[in-house]
Structure formats: structure tokens, C-alpha cells
Symmetry: C2
DNA sequence: AGGTCTATTGAGCGCGTGAACAATAATTCT
DNA sequence: AGAATTATTGTTCACGCGCTCAATAGACCT
């Protein structure tokens, strides 16, 4: 039962992140995490003297992990493939229902940040990290001659803003809005980067535009 | 001290709405509202046997009141002025810091809806109401020949989505994103409605395009 | 083997919450 | 005027929360 401090700590954060991602950050309590791990709540309190620190670390772990899955750190590196393909994959993954939990998590974290300054700091850091990662991909695409874009940073911020807007309704009226919003992030990104329509469709045209796949227009 | 039931009920909802708008919906508790009104918590519980109903009604009151202030019900009526002017005023009011509380409220409500089914229903109703109100203005503008737009409903949903996206960061990194986002809602709306650049600037060009006011381009 | 360190326990405190309910006082009806 | 109604009070309950802390027990070192 007794484990090395570092291992136990990671175990606690992992359990907390799982709870935060699937059930909400306010469900991360000392007792709840302890129960999931089969230990006493006092132990969790031993590793995280203030609960807010645990919540913050749990969110950071979940958000950073998801970003790495969506846009690996080396995604901007041109040796890993064209920026167009990277964005295609990125946008494709956003549509899946698995991303709903992530949307909920961001909504959760952004609201909870209103009351929790430590969490607030962590959320801001992750928000900027996500934008910066997208910015790198856009900058790489501009360098490759695939995108036309004055300011990659501003484009990235705007694309993420549309993404967050579309995902605002996961808990509420997502169903009623699906038709107008289903392709909005991709369409907006294409316009922002000076790309032809449907250029960012998954498995659509690559940088050379060779394998174009027809699709009905959505607007 | 003793008041007519209807009056007392409205008083309670008004107090709860004020708390929800300024301090957050989870600060609406029986005791808190009772304290603000100088009564006992049992009384509030008498009017709202379950607290969730009070929170829901408080949110509904605040959201509906704000919508009426932003886009009066008759805004779509062409007798009240051009749709262009109505949208100009609407967009102008969104920029003010007074709207920050409203953004926070929406964020709050959308997250809390994850756990509270009754609130969820109320939030969905308000979300659709806001979209429908914008849709009416757009439809009026199309009828006036001011806008070019295939589907007013879809356009409204998309405009509101961008609005919600931009306002997602009021609690967190709003400061760091201000530059790329400051005019994004207006710019997107102009594009969505087939309007020339800056056509929706406050006190900008009316439908006839007579009183155009120069402004530096923002993109 | 004995001693030291510390991960882990177990129990408890104070707080704020939603909810319940009998008692009370003001209003209204007959 | 008297009775019925009900708005309002005052109190209490059980719950889950973060947090504290002395006691325990497992691991490592000499």
C-alpha cells in the first residue's frame, strides 16, 4: 500500500484529472479522489494541503494532455508533414464526441476561474499554450507557402475563439445548433488562412492540391 | 413587513438575479437572498421549495432583461428604424464593460447546466430566444434590402456563436486576446450579412451609406 | 537488529448548505 | 367581532466540504 511519494502524487493527479474531465472539476474533492484510489482522504490532503492546488494541477494535466494528443509539440515542424495535413487532423478530431468532455472541461475551468485565483492562473497558461501551438502550425504553413496570413498569432487567437464559441453549447443547446455550426470552425479557418473552400476537409486536398475530394458546399 | 405573495415573490427573484449577475449563480442561496431582503431563510424556502427553481428563475430574469435592453422586442419592426442601426447599437453595447457581467453569467449558467436539469432547460430556452431575436433583426434587414443572407436563422446562430466565443475569456485571458478579438464579432457579422467593411461600426454608415465615418482597418 | 524517517491512517472540528416543520402574527373572509 | 387563512418566523436536521493532527506502520539506513 505504501508507495513512493512521487508515484503516489502522480497517481492522485491522474485520478483527479479523470474525475475533472468526466464529472466536473467541482467533483474533485479530497474524499472523492481518496475513494477512487482506495486510500484515506487525509493522505490526499497530505500531498495537496489546499484543495485548489489539486484542482489546478488536475486541470492542467488534462488540458495539456489533450493538447498533446491533438497537436503534438512537433506538429509545427515541417519534417512531420504539411501544415495543411496537421490542421486537417486537428479539425477532424474536434468534431468527435470524445471532444465533448474537453469542451465541458474548458467551460468548467473558465467559470470556476472566477472564484479560484490559482486555477485562474493555470487556465490562462493553458489558454495561451493552446493558442501558441496553433500559431506555430499556422506559421509553419505560411513558411511552406500553404497559408496566406498577416499575423499567425492573431489568426490563431481568432480560430480558437470560434472553436470555443461553437463548443459553448455542449451542455445546453448543442443539438439545436448543430446544422449552422457543424463546419463553422473549419470554414472560418480556411477563410482566415486564405485557403480555398474545403481545403481543410479531412483527407481533403494536400498542399499540392492533388487529391481533392468533392463535397457539397455547406454555406 | 408582511407583503402580498406576488410582490414578495418578485422581490425574491429580483434579489436573486442581482446576486447571480454580480457574484455568480452558485452564490444564490436561501440564506443569502434572505439576508439581502432582511427576512428569514425559511421564507425564501416557502416561495421556492427547491433552490434550483430559484436559481433558474433568477437566471431567466437576468438574461431576458438584458436581452430586452440590448434588442427590444420591436427591434425587428421596420417602423423602429433600419436593421443596420439596430445591429450597430447592439454590437456597440457588447463592447462595454457592463456586458462583462452578462458574459460571466452566460458562462456560469452554461456550466451549471451540466448538473442542474431545471436550469439547463431555462438556459436552452434563453439561448434560443437570443438567437431568434437576432434572427428577426437579420430577417428585417434582408426584407429592407440591407443584408444579403441565405438563411437568417443560420446567420444568427453563427453570429451568436462568435459572440460567445469572444466572451469566453472574460474570467481568464481576455486581456491577452483583446487585440485580435476586439472587432471580431462586428467584422464577422458584416461578412455573414454581405455588408461592406465597417458597415456596422457604431454611428457608421446607415442603410443609404450617406454618413460614412472613416476608421483604420483592423485586419 | 535497532533506529529514524515518513507515508498513511483514523477520527474529529467547524462551516455552509438545502430542507423540514411547528409556532406565531398579520391579513382577509364571513 | 370572530374565524379562517397564510405569510413569516425560529429552530433543527443531515449532509458534504476543507482542513487538522496525533497515532500508526512500513521502508530504509547504519
Amino acid at each position: 500500500m505504501r508507495k513512493a511519494p512521487e508515484e503516489r502524487r502522480q497517481e492522485i493527479v491522474a485520478a483527479a484529472a479523470r474525475i475533472g474531465l468526466t464529472e466536473g472539476l467541482e467533483r474533485i474533492t479530497l474524499r472523492r479522489v481518496a475513494d477512487d484510489l482506495g486510500v484515506r482522504s487525509g493522505l490526499v490532503g497530505h500531498y495537496f494541503p489546499t484543495a485548489e492546488d489539486l484542482v489546478t494541477e488536475a486541470f492542467t494535466s488534462a488540458a495539456a494532455g489533450e493538447l498533446d494528443a491533438l497537436l503534438p509539440e512537433t506538429a509545427g515542424d515541417r519534417s512531420r508533414g504539411s501544415a495543411v495535413r496537421v490542421l486537417q487532423n486537428f479539425l477532424a478530431r474536434l468534431s468527435g464526441p470524445v471532444f465533448d468532455d474537453v469542451s465541458r472541461l474548458w467551460l468548467n475551468a473558465r467559470h470556476l476561474s472566477r472564484y479560484r485565483p490559482v486555477l485562474n492562473e493555470g487556465v490562462v497558461r493553458q489558454e495561451l499554450l493552446w493558442c501558441r501551438r496553433v500559431e506555430q502550425v499556422i506559421a509553419a504553413g505560411v513558411a511552406q507557402g500553404s497559408f496566406r496570413c498577416e499575423d499567425p498569432w492573431e489568426a490563431a487567437v481568432r480560430v480558437i475563439a470560434v472553436l470555443d464559441g461553437v463548443n459553448s453549447y455542449t451542455n445546453t443547446s448543442a443539438q439545436q445548433r448543430s446544422a449552422p455550426l457543424i463546419d463553422m470552425v473549419r470554414t472560418f479557418t480556411e477563410a482566415e488562412l486564405g485557403l480555398p473552400r474545403d481545403a481543410l476537409l479531412p483527407h481533403g486536398p494536400a498542399a499540392d492540391g492533388s487529391d481533392r475530394e468533392p463535397r457539397p458546399a455547406d454555406r
